[in-house]
């Protein structure tokens, strides 16, 4: 008897397991089949251009040769493009200008965005109205932004007209053809366009700070600044990292406003990395060299992004434990 019952138990137990695994197998193979078209598409969108770039970057191929790109192996040079790249001083000057641009522009956007978010968090009159007004620059096409500021910074433009109220010789200021002023003008355009994004992200972060914690701090005697510094800011650390990370990456790729406003000029005073790449691509037609630069930039940006993400996930651990007291 015992034997029989034992057997039934043994027999009945694995069966549903078996059924499940076959079912899972079936499901998985079906899932694979269904995903295949999307994966093939991804291969063409992501993998193919990347491989093509890697390939071309190891050659001296240029469309001027008249050969199609897959014949590029005829001028195979291994890593010479990458070696050239590290000795290309005009490239590194463009990189440095871009970094400088990011280092000035993003902190200004952060400071302004945080200040606006704080003001909105405390509550302003007609909040929905100002909210939509504030977000508008973000929705404008960057090239159009460039054009707006190109007009604004003309010698006879509105900027000089307004400055004229305060300084007698303001009409003489030449913005876009002065080395430093052109750089400043480009920063102004970028700040104008992207402060709203910073504001939006930080404001959303502030809204997520638990109300009762702010109130608890108030009752404990904390001033506005105390609450902001000790409760709100530490709580939106993760959001701050994300916002800055996003803007650093985006600002590093700046192209459109500069292209419209100064074309990288005067000289190369506002030539960003993207603009430099553009010129090497379309003026010099050195496509293989540009491919090498592109890959190098990709690697460097990936490393920076990785660092930001690892830092963010560290900061994000904290809000996750946040709900604990309520849960228990």
């Amino acid at each position: 008897m015992t034997n029989v019952s034992h057997q039934t138990v043994e027999a009945s137990e694995p069966r549903p397991m078996d059924g499940q695994t076959t079912l899972n197998e079936e499901r998985r193979s079906l899932a694979r089949k269904l995903l295949l078209p999307a994966q093939i598409l991804l291969v063409f969108i992501v993998a193919f251009p990347l491989c093509m770039q890697l390939y071309i970057a190891m050659t001296w191929w240029t469309p001027l040769d008249g050969d199609p790109w897959y014949m590029a192996y005829q001028s195979w040079i291994w890593f010479l493009n990458y070696i050239d790249l590290f000795q290309d001083s005009s490239l590194w000057r463009a990189v440095w200008r871009t970094v400088l641009f990011v280092l000035i522009s993003v902190p200004i956007q952060f400071a302004l965005g945080l200040a606006l978010a704080a003001i909105f968090y405390e509550g302003v009159a007609a909040r929905p109205f100002f909210y939509s007004i504030l977000l508008m620059p973000m929705m404008i096409v960057p090239a159009v932004t460039g054009f707006i500021f190109f007009l604004m910074f003309q010698q006879t433009g509105p900027v000089n007209a307004i400055l004229g109220f305060f300084m007698s010789d303001a009409a003489q200021i030449n913005w876009l053809s002065d080395v430093d002023r052109a750089f400043a003008a480009v920063i102004v355009a970028d700040v104008w366009q992207w402060t709203p994004l910073m504001f939006l992200i930080l404001y959303a972060g502030l809204m997520s700070v638990p109300d009762d914690q702010m109130r608890a701090a108030t009752i404990l005697g904390a001033s506005w600044w105390d609450r902001f510094r000790r409760i709100a800011l530490p709580r939106i650390k993760a959001v701050i990292v994300i916002a800055i990370g996003l803007r650093v990456i985006e600002a590093f790729k700046i192209f459109d406003p500069i292209f419209i406003m100064t074309q990288g000029g005067p000289g190369v005073a506002t030539e960003s990395l993207s603009l430099y790449l553009y010129k090497r691509t379309f003026q010099d037609l050195e496509w293989s060299y540009v491919a090498a630069i592109g890959i190098t930039v990709l690697v460097i940006l990936s490393i920076i992004t990785g660092l930001i993400i690892s830092k963010t996930s560290g900061a994000a651990v904290e809000p996750a434990t946040e709900s604990d007291p309520e849960k228990v």
Binding site: P210, D212, Q213, R215, A216, A217, T218, I219, L220, G221, A222, S223, D226, R230, I231, P234, R235, E318, T321, E322, D324, P325, E326, V328
Partner: protein, 377 residues
């Protein structure tokens, strides 16, 4: 420590009156519960004491000093939130020192006080751990300690136990009571749970629809309810309140429970006096389910009833009776043998019965002392 006085406090939100002409005096070092159903204005009342909300009319004073215009930061109240509102991004130490730090106290003093408070709250071993790692009773202690460290005049607690499960709540309740005694603090405690209010508080303020119904000791609100609302709200199961007609019999007043009940109840001097004072022929007759006895003898306060349903709840049997057209409950020990459908004779303890006015629903058998001198319109 301080006493708190609310004078004619009214709070309107648009057309809605959350609190209506409230007068309340919380004595020094007492534990007072604001008890009432949701939306009765108890939280608004507490917010006005804290200064989170300003009264539309009336004044709030601590120790006789009017603080109605004093902002919340300067009012010196400790506030414990429903979910404790612990700063979970800080350590326990930082939570405790927060109030002192923002007040700009010297580091040495902060350190000393934090150590003392941690010692007092038995949190010393947790001081340098993240506060998110604490258990719920440690969180409660931390929330109270964080407020207590700045030496507030009074403590306000907003349903601090409502997030907990029943078993744990009991333990936290006794912890809280002990803390209040040790701190010797005036505490105002908001709750909708009558058991919490009755077991924790020195005094209970029962509120409904923005008005104070009764303010008295737990025993008082239980045995001498000021009106039908309090009588029904306090006690589980709540007081039986049935319509009764009063007749002037040969040897005193008689009350007939329900119109068709066969047996009349002879009223004693206290209840008769209450009837005389009100001149009413119809009253609401209130008696607690616990005060009914089953008897064999006929007496001046016995009446017949039919058993409709018997529920056994733990040690108690809750019996549903019917006499005439009225239903009421009785609570007995579970050892009582009784079955549905049985006809029984019940005896009332008239000392524990109350009469209420049909219209105003106010208790007729209480002198004004039982309402604690509240001016209620």
């Amino acid at each position: 420590m301080a006493n708190v006085t609310l004078e004619n406090v009214t709070k309107n939100f648009g057309d809605f009156t959350a609190v209506d002409t409230l007068n309340l005096a919380v004595p020094d070092a007492e534990f007072v519960a604001l008890l009432g159903p949701s939306g009765c204005g108890k939280t608004t009342t507490m917010n006005m004491i804290a200064g989170i909300e300003a009264p539309s009319i009336g004044s709030v004073s601590f120790d006789g000093v009017d603080v109605t215009q004093t902002p919340v930061q300067k009012r010196g109240v400790g506030f414990v939130f429903q979910n404790y509102a612990i700063f979970t991004h800080m350590t326990v130490r930082k939570n405790l020192s927060f109030g002192l730090e923002v007040a700009g106290r010297p580091a040495k003093e902060i350190h000393r006080k934090v150590e003392e408070m941690a010692e007092f709250m038995a949190l010393t071993h947790r001081l340098d751990q993240p506060s998110a790692s604490l258990s719920v009773n440690e969180l409660q202690k931390l929330a109270i300690g964080r407020s207590a460290i700045v030496e507030p005049k009074i403590f306000l607690l907003d349903e601090p136990l409502s997030n907990l499960d029943a078993a744990f709540r009991e333990r936290m309740r006794s912890d809280l009571r002990q803390l209040q005694r040790d701190l010797k603090q005036t505490m105002v405690y908001v709750t909708h749970d009558q058991i919490e209010a009755m077991s924790l508080a020195d005094r209970v303020a029962v509120m409904n629809k923005g008005q104070l119904q009764q303010f008295g000791s737990p025993a008082q609100v239980y045995s001498e309810p000021a009106n039908v609302f309090v009588a029904r709200f306090i006690g589980a199961p709540s007081m039986n309140i049935v319509r009764a007609s009063i007749q002037h019999g040969t040897s005193g007043h008689e009350a007939r429970l329900g119109d068709l009940a066969a047996d009349a109840i002879m009223l004693d001097e206290r209840l008769s006096g209450a009837c005389d004072r009100s001149d009413a022929l119809d009253v609401l007759f209130g008696f607690r389910p616990e005060t009914i006895e089953i008897t064999d003898e006929n007496g001046p306060t016995t009446f017949g009833a039919e058993v409709m349903l018997v529920e056994t709840v733990g040690r108690r049997k809750i019996v549903h009776f019917k006499t005439g057209l009225i239903d009421f409950l009785g609570v007995f020990d579970r050892s009582l043998s009784i079955r549905a459908g049985e006809a029984v004779k019940l005896k009332l303890d008239l000392d524990k019965c109350h009469l209420f006015d049909v219209k105003s629903e106010r208790c007729l058998t209480l002198d004004q002392g039982g309402v604690d001198g509240q001016n209620r319109s």
